[in-house]
């Protein structure tokens, strides 16, 4: 990433210094030199502050980053076994379905209550975060790599390659995403179990593939659009006029310019993938119990939403804030990148 344009940073250059000196000299007679110089300096500082604040990320973005850091840290640390959590699969049958801060008849320590099998909610949500994040990030990475390659090829070469790739994308986009993902999971499961003779394939991997394949045309189309505009820029022609090979131009000239657009959309895509994982789990084809994921915590106990709403709502709140943070950050990143693009 290039540094911000230097002309945007109000550094008093030699000219500013000269102005300052002249200003000081002129007003020396009137005895106001010191006061006026101070006025000048403070004006410069105020201007600088204002600019910097305008260039900062803003409170919302920092809250979003804070939340995501917290979620990722808890999930990773829980998975590593560093956090003092209960086992997510151990049942405390005496406190099944107890809500948060329940008083009677509970073993102490279930701060947010238990699910219908008496498993600790905090532990399940911490471990479930890992499943959800791994599936969502993995799926988006898969989508970015394959959608990125296809979109780049389509946008850069155009013509028949573009026509073929775009039609395939359109076919995939015409199928409702949930139906497609369900079908893919079923198909992949069948393929995996027949291939390896048993179902020892991690269901997370199946989900990554299924959601990843669904996301390929979405991410691919965005990459294609971006690659298309960048490929028509003059520096691409200039590179051609210097004798660069097409693949080299695509990878070295176009791709680095497309990456920012892909990155900003990747954050939004992770948010969508988290929701997708939840949806598939609720439909019963997600991460297989007893391994928790945010989606299957909700899915397992969605019938008991009346008597023990916390089991459904606590993970839903986690999903809500995580998706909100990702969306918000995605927008911030995009806004920042748009500014940079127009400045160049």
């Amino acid at each position: 990433m290039p540094a911000p344009p230097p002309d945007d940073i109000p550094i008093p250059g030699p000219e500013g210094q000269r102005d300052l000196d002249r200003y000081a000299e002129d007003s020396l007679d009137s005895g106001l030199a010191v006061a006026q110089t101070q006025l000048y300096v403070s004006a410069v500082e105020v201007g600088g502050e204002g600019r910097r604040r305008g260039k900062g990320l803003g409170l919302g973005a920092w809250l979003a980053i804070g939340w995501l850091t917290f979620i990722v840290a808890v999930s990773v640390l829980a998975q590593l076994g560093i956090l003092p959590l209960k086992s997510p699969t151990e049942s405390f049958s005496e406190c099944a379905r107890l809500g948060p801060f329940a008083k009677e008849g509970t073993a102490p320590g279930h701060l947010l209550g238990c699910d219908s099998n008496g498993r600790d909610m905090i532990a399940r949500m911490a471990y479930g975060g890992w499943s959800s994040l791994v599936v969502a990030t993995g799926a988006v990475l898969f989508g970015l790599v394959f959608g990125g390659i296809l979109g780049l090829l389509a946008g850069f070469f155009g013509g028949k390659i573009d026509a073929v790739i775009t039609s395939v994308f359109n076919v995939f986009l015409a199928i409702p995403a949930v139906v497609l993902a369900l079908a893919l999971v079923a198909f992949l499961q069948g393929a995996a179990s027949s291939g390896s003779g048993g179902d020892n394939v991690d269901p997370k991997l199946l989900l990554i593939l299924a959601i990843g394949i669904v996301s390929v045309p979405l991410l691919g189309r965005i990459t294609r659009a971006s690659a298309l505009t960048w490929s028509q820029r003059e520096f691409v022609l200039a590179a051609r006029a210097q004798g660069a090979k097409p693949m080299r131009i695509m990878v070295r000239e176009v791709l680095p310019n497309v990456v920012p657009a892909m990155m900003s959309i990747a954050l939004l895509a992770i948010a969508i993938a988290i929701v997708a994982e939840g949806t598939l789990s609720i439909l019963g084809v997600g991460v297989r119990p007893p391994t928790p994921s945010w989606g299957n915590i909700i899915g397992l106990d969605r019938g008991r939403i009346k008597e023990s709403p916390h089991i459904v709502f606590l993970p839903a709140i986690l999903i809500f804030f995580t998706v909100l943070s990702l969306n918000f950050l995605g927008d911030v990143v995009r806004a920042k990148l748009d500014v940079r693009e127009s400045a160049v």
Partner: protein, 360 residues
């Protein structure tokens, strides 16, 4: 500054064949509206170390001409006919793969807008050394040294520092110099400069043009200087070709063109340049109308609808390129400027105008 670029008369005796020989080049685009004849039968030759100025309005086919000669236009929807011989090789028949040995290494191009012709996310150094490493087969360190020397030769201060910077950290004039450095990196024999100064400040324009002239002298390089500004080519080109509607309408050695122009279009272009000795608030001379539609160009002379010399014959018969009185001078006009026929035609039109004007 007004010295022609080839001031120290280097012997052009070299190989008998000129460096670039374009014959009846046609470049047509297939569009939904019909076939656009962007370049319609252009011929010229250019010797080593010489400069050809190509002048014309927007849409007269200057840019397409240069890209067509270099073979940089997209294959799809483009019809290219005619012959382009570069250094003894017919290059219209070469595949893009074969052309890659010419691009950058033997012929190169500078573009109009230095803001868009550099990659915003690549360091200057990388952009310069890329083609050096592609064509010259040298190691990274040596390529970097070459890049630094190139930047120094295009008079960029602190070149070793600049190599590590991104395009947005440079001013417009500096970026165009970087573009020149990129184009010169592999020592091409032919340089196309497509309106190299249009996007620059007037003060920087002269610097960039002088720089190109210096580099041309040092490298004995031929330049095709494309511009819409006769003033830019006046002191710098050995020969000037005036383009209109995809054709060369007048071509002459620079001094001949300015002293003895035959084509009313050239005259109109020249008179539309503001003169410093004009009093302020003088109305600028303009050429009325717009360049013709290149899908269905008018019958007869393409400039006739806008010409002050126009006669019935101009609207019916297309004038061929006719030789002028001096060697190397060619023009397309039935009633040339500075001849009795031309003067008569102009006088007749003026009289008609006075009559219709008086009646109205």
């Amino acid at each position: 500054m007004t010295q022609p670029a080839s001031a120290p008369t280097v012997s052009t005796a070299g190989p008998s064949e000129p460096l670039l020989q374009v014959e009846d080049l046609r470049t047509h685009f297939e569009t939904p509206r019909g076939i656009v004849r962007a370049v319609d039968g252009v011929s010229f030759t250019l010797a080593r170390g010489k400069t050809l100025g190509v002048v014309g309005e927007s849409g007269s086919g200057k840019t397409v001409l240069s890209r067509s000669i270099m073979g940089l236009l997209p294959k799809r929807g483009t019809i290219r006919e005619g012959s382009v011989r570069f250094d003894g090789t017919e290059i219209t028949e070469l595949s893009p793969k074969e052309m890659r040995d010419f691009w950058g290494a033997r012929m190169s191009m500078i573009f109009q807008d230095p803001m868009t012709s550099l990659n915003p996310v690549m360091k200057i150094g990388k952009q310069i050394t890329e083609s050096i490493r592609q064509h010259l087969d040298v190691d990274k360190k040596y390529a970097n040294e070459l890049g630094e020397n190139l930047l120094r030769s295009v008079r960029i201060p602190e070149p070793e520092q600049r190599l590590k910077e991104y395009p947005h950290q440079l001013s417009g004039g500096m970026r165009q110099r970087v573009c020149i450095a990129v184009a010169l990196a592999c020592g091409p024999a032919l340089l196309f400069a497509d309106e190299p100064t249009t996007a620059l400040d007037v003060t920087v324009q002269a610097q960039v043009l002088d720089l190109m002239a210096t580099q041309q002298r040092e490298r004995f390089m031929a330049i095709v200087l494309i511009t819409h500004d006769l003033g830019v080519v006046a002191g710098r080109a050995d020969e000037i070709a005036v383009m209109y509607a995809g054709r060369i309408v007048e071509k002459a050695p620079t001094s001949v063109l300015f002293s003895d122009m035959k084509m009313p279009y050239t005259e109109a272009l020249l008179s539309s340049i503001p003169k410093i000795e004009h009093p302020s608030h003088t109305r600028l001379n303009t050429i009325p109308g717009r360049p013709p539609n290149l899908v269905t160009p008018p019958q007869g002379c393409k400039f006739a609808p806008r010409c002050t010399y126009v006669q019935p014959r101009c609207l019916e018969e297309d004038p061929p390129l006719m030789p002028g009185t001096q060697p190397g001078h060619e023009y397309r006009c039935w009633f040339p400027v500075g001849t009795p026929e031309g003067a008569e035609a102009l006088a007749r039109n003026r009289a008609d105008q006075a009559v219709t004007g008086g009646a109205a």
